[in-house]
């Protein structure tokens, strides 16, 4: 009975998938669970996965809210590139060596650069939100515009070059450690925590769900659905912007062409893996973070157990397919019917 209660929890199947993946890793890769304490930092495959999953989790959190309102935002990858480009430009890409020692020079103070990048990311989200809520475009088309144009904007900003950042304090975002754990994990945790508090301590969660389930009725009930939809897209933009900062800090550069490529698809995948339906309404923030972890664990697994690079996308697709089947109540009940029928005997 308790097993049934447990298995009906919406996070049960994503958790099972993650545990299975981790288990497979432990079997094929004996060093997987080993953690080392070096220079006051934890090192190990698991820590690595957490670190790399952080940007995806950030984007997936923003995407969850958008999807919950019946929308979708496929421009997040482009926003990642734009945000990275703005931050890199404002910090500056010069290597200054004085007396044989590198000095840290930035064009604008780092805080200004970070705020600047996030403001630009918010404007990207605002553009998307206005197209969806005010102009009334289909979300996939509205955000497709920025998905395509955003790459161009990012490349315009960087002049078609990869901008290398030499300002060491900036590297902390994507490479630094706090209390032994990667700093990026804390960033993702803080964003998740903030959104979680907003959803449970304000009416935001109720409004978003209500809009996602029935926008017309929500409007009649006085929910300011357009305003909320715009805000959700702005937040999604900001979340992608933060992810852009983490990614560019991690690779110490901004590449307008390649930063965040296909990230939108991974983010949508993370949201669906976490049990949120693309049709809007009920959603799970924690599920999306789990989804991001599943995707990153899967990627790491594929590399660590030595799947040939030419087939790794196929393996990834197969695993995602299996997880989605596990999640489907229809599929599970079909399996149950097939497996349980002989045991109970035929009905007539």
């Amino acid at each position: 009975m308790t097993m049934r209660r447990l298995s009906s929890h919406r996070l049960f199947w994503p958790s099972v998938a993650l545990v299975l993946l981790l288990g497979i890793n432990a079997v094929f890769n004996p060093g997987f669970w080993q953690l080392q304490w070096r220079d006051g930092h934890l090192y190990g495959s698991v820590i690595d996965i957490l670190n790399r999953a952080a940007p995806l989790a950030l984007v997936a959190i923003g995407m969850t809210l958008v999807i919950a309102t019946r929308g979708i935002d496929i421009s997040v990858g482009a926003v990642v590139a734009i945000s990275a480009a703005v931050a890199a430009l404002m910090i500056g890409g010069e290597l200054v060596v004085k007396d044989g020692v590198q000095t840290h020079v930035s064009r604008y103070p780092m805080s200004v650069a970070i705020v600047g990048a996030l403001v630009v990311a918010a404007l990207c989200g605002l553009w998307n939100g206005l197209l969806v809520a005010k102009v009334g475009m289909q979300p996939i088309i509205a955000t497709l515009i920025l998905m395509v144009a955003g790459r161009g904007i990012a490349q315009l900003l960087t002049g078609g070059q990869i901008i290398t950042v030499y300002y060491a304090p900036y590297f902390f975002l994507g490479n630094g450690f706090l209390l032994g754990l990667p700093f990026a994990v804390f960033i993702a945790a803080v964003v998740w925590g903030t959104v979680h508090v907003l959803l449970t301590r304000t009416a935001l969660g109720l409004f978003i769900q209500s809009i996602g389930i029935n926008p017309a009725a929500s409007r009649v009930a006085g929910v300011r659905e357009r305003l909320i939809i715009v805000c959700v897209y702005v937040f999604c933009g900001v979340a992608a912007g933060i992810a852009g900062l983490v990614i560019s800090s991690n690779v110490k550069s901004a590449d307008g062409n390649n930063a965040g490529v296909l990230l939108e698809l991974d983010a949508i995948l993370a949201v669906t893996l976490g049990g949120t339906a693309l049709t809007g309404g009920r959603f799970s923030l924690a599920g999306s973070v789990l989804g991001a972890l599943i995707i990153q664990t899967l990627t790491s697994t594929i590399y660590s157990i030595g799947v040939p690079p030419e087939v790794n996308m196929v393996v990834k697709a197969a695993v995602v397919f299996a997880v989605m089947l596990l999640q489907s109540p229809e599929f599970r009940s079909t399996v149950r019917r097939i497996t349980v029928r002989p045991a109970t005997g035929s009905a007539r």
């Binding site: 301590r201 304000t202 009725a217 009649v220 929910v223």
Partner: protein, 502 residues
């Protein structure tokens, strides 16, 4: 009558998560009869139909078709056996042609084993023949959406007849039809009856039951109350059977004096919108029920939408408490103390997958804003109060509102607005598609609130209802106001006013 029993059910029982929806129900349907199934919302009508048509399996009891025990496992299965159903909501595809709709899922094919292409000409020929059986001569190659709802209803029936149907189940087929269309539908039913079809007919309209039914089965609380012949069962006895108690004489205006009508709350001066409503004046006072009389398409709903800010006025102005106001969205109207039960409950009213509790709290929360959060505990308190006051039947407050019966859903929408303690309540068809008792309860509640000072704008297509509850009646025709009548006018007076100005 010598006709034989076509469909027979004995001791049907069905539970939903512990709640007994049907309890040992016996039922029989004869060939060549129209059998009306009546009962309040939640009495088990829908469940019975769903068990008969294989949508839900019965937990206990047996089902016989022409004496053979059957056990349909799906609606398609039931249809193969000869039990066809036309559901309440016309579930056809408006973007397909009439013929395609009639044969959807079973297009005639050409070639060996139907492997070659669809036989379009046969399909259209057969569709025309089927519709001719219903006295309907239309171009079957045109899109379904190009025909009025009444015709679409006929197409739905034709679709059900397409297979060799012995039993036709109609779940509230008349709720979206006007009088003329109902008469036409009844002609068709009489003809099918003459051909020996067994027809099960669910409706809330007593008059229709007496107009067409040969036999009436009444359900209450999942149990069969009895099977009656209409001639032996006067309307009052029928209502008593459905409700289980004597209905008090319809509480009406008379219970209250017009002196309670007080200060003007909301005044609409020449409000209108091009293409929707010609400029008109309406005044709503404290404690007064203003009825809106008019036929479908007369601008009733448009008036409600303009007042509530769902559509924007492009002429005239709204005055509240002596100061002009402007509503660009419902949220602004709500802040000024307006509330509206919309006409389309499913589309504009309930938020289906949210719980009863969340649905009731929604408008109040929206008015209080994002930050001033009603905790689940406070939502619970508010919801509990209104579930009690309005007698909403629900397993618990966390039940998704979609699982409630229509009347209870409507009460939830009403509760949502009462929770905001409104000063002006706009009710657009608040009693459509719900049973007599729930209707009465909702009307009584509205009148009680009006006595306490609520200003009510009451819109209904049932003129007797409007006449009964309203203190004043604003009469609309062709999207303009043709006059106002005092509350004690007769239905004929309203119709006369609608007709006279033509």
């Amino acid at each position: 009558m010598a006709s034989s029993v076509v469909l027979e059910a004995r001791g049907l029982t069905r539970r939903f998560t512990g709640v007994l929806a049907l309890s040992g129900v016996d039922f029989r349907l004869l060939a060549g009869e129209v059998h009306a199934l009546m009962g309040q919302n939640g009495a088990g009508k829908s469940t019975l139909i769903k068990v008969l048509t294989g949508v839900h399996p019965a937990d206990a009891g047996e089902l016989r078709l022409n004496g053979q025990a059957i056990n349909p496992t799906s609606a398609a299965d039931a249809q193969r056996l000869g039990i066809s159903t036309v559901y309440q909501e016309v579930n056809l595809c408006p973007n397909l042609s009439v013929a395609e709709n009639v044969f959807a899922g079973r297009y005639p094919r050409l070639g060996a084993a139907g492997l070659w292409r669809i036989d379009w000409s046969k399909m259209e020929r057969d569709a025309r023949a089927l519709l001719a059986r219903l006295n309907l001569d239309i171009d079957v190659s045109r899109l379904l959406s190009s025909y009025p709802v009444a015709v679409q209803q006929m197409v739905a029936i034709a679709r059900a007849l397409g297979v060799d149907a012995k039993v036709l189940v109609l779940d509230e087929p008349t709720s979206s039809l006007d009088e003329h269309e109902v008469a036409r539908l009844f002609d068709v039913l009489r003809q099918l009856r003459a051909e020996g079809m067994a027809i099960l007919f669910v409706t809330h309209f007593l008059a229709q039951t007496y107009a067409i039914a040969d036999r009436i089965t009444v359900l209450r609380n999942g149990e069969r109350v009895g099977e009656y012949l209409p001639a032996e069962l006067p309307a009052s006895a029928l209502i008593t059977a459905m409700v289980g108690r004597e209905l008090g004489a319809a509480a009406g205006r008379n219970a209250r004096t017009t002196e309670t009508a007080g200060a003007v709350v909301l005044e609409a001066l020449g409000i209108g919108r091009r293409g929707q409503l010609s400029p008109l004046d309406v005044t709503l006072r404290r404690g007064e029920v203003v009825g809106v009389g008019g036929l479908l398409g007369s601008g009733r709903t448009d008036l409600a939408r303009l007042l509530f800010g769902l559509d924007q006025i492009d002429s005239g102005e709204l005055v509240m408490d002596g100061a002009p106001v402007r509503f660009d969205a419902p949220s602004q109207a709500i802040r000024h103390g307006l509330a509206m039960c919309p006409e389309e409950r499913k589309h504009d009213g309930i938020v289906a997958e949210l719980s009863v509790r969340e649905n009731i709290a929604l408008a109040l929360q929206a008015r209080m804003g994002l930050w001033n959060f009603l905790t689940p505990a406070r939502q619970q308190t508010i919801a509990e109060r209104f579930v009690h006051v309005l007698g909403i039947k629900t397993a618990d407050l966390d039940t998704p509102v979609a699982l409630l019966s229509g009347g209870n859903q409507q009460k939830v929408v009403l509760a949502r607005w009462l929770a905001t303690e409104p000063r002006v309540m706009i009710l657009d068809e608040p009693t459509r598609g719900i049973d007599v008792a729930a209707k009465q309860e909702i009307m009584n509640e509205i009148l009680r609130l009006a006595r306490e000072g609520l200003a009510v704008l009451f819109i209904s297509s049932e003129m007797d209802e409007v006449v009964r509850v309203a203190d004043r009646i604003v009469v609309l025709r062709d999207r303009r106001k043709v006059g106002e009548l005092p509350g004690d006018s007769s239905e004929q007076a309203v119709y006369h006013l609608i007709a006279s100005d033509a």
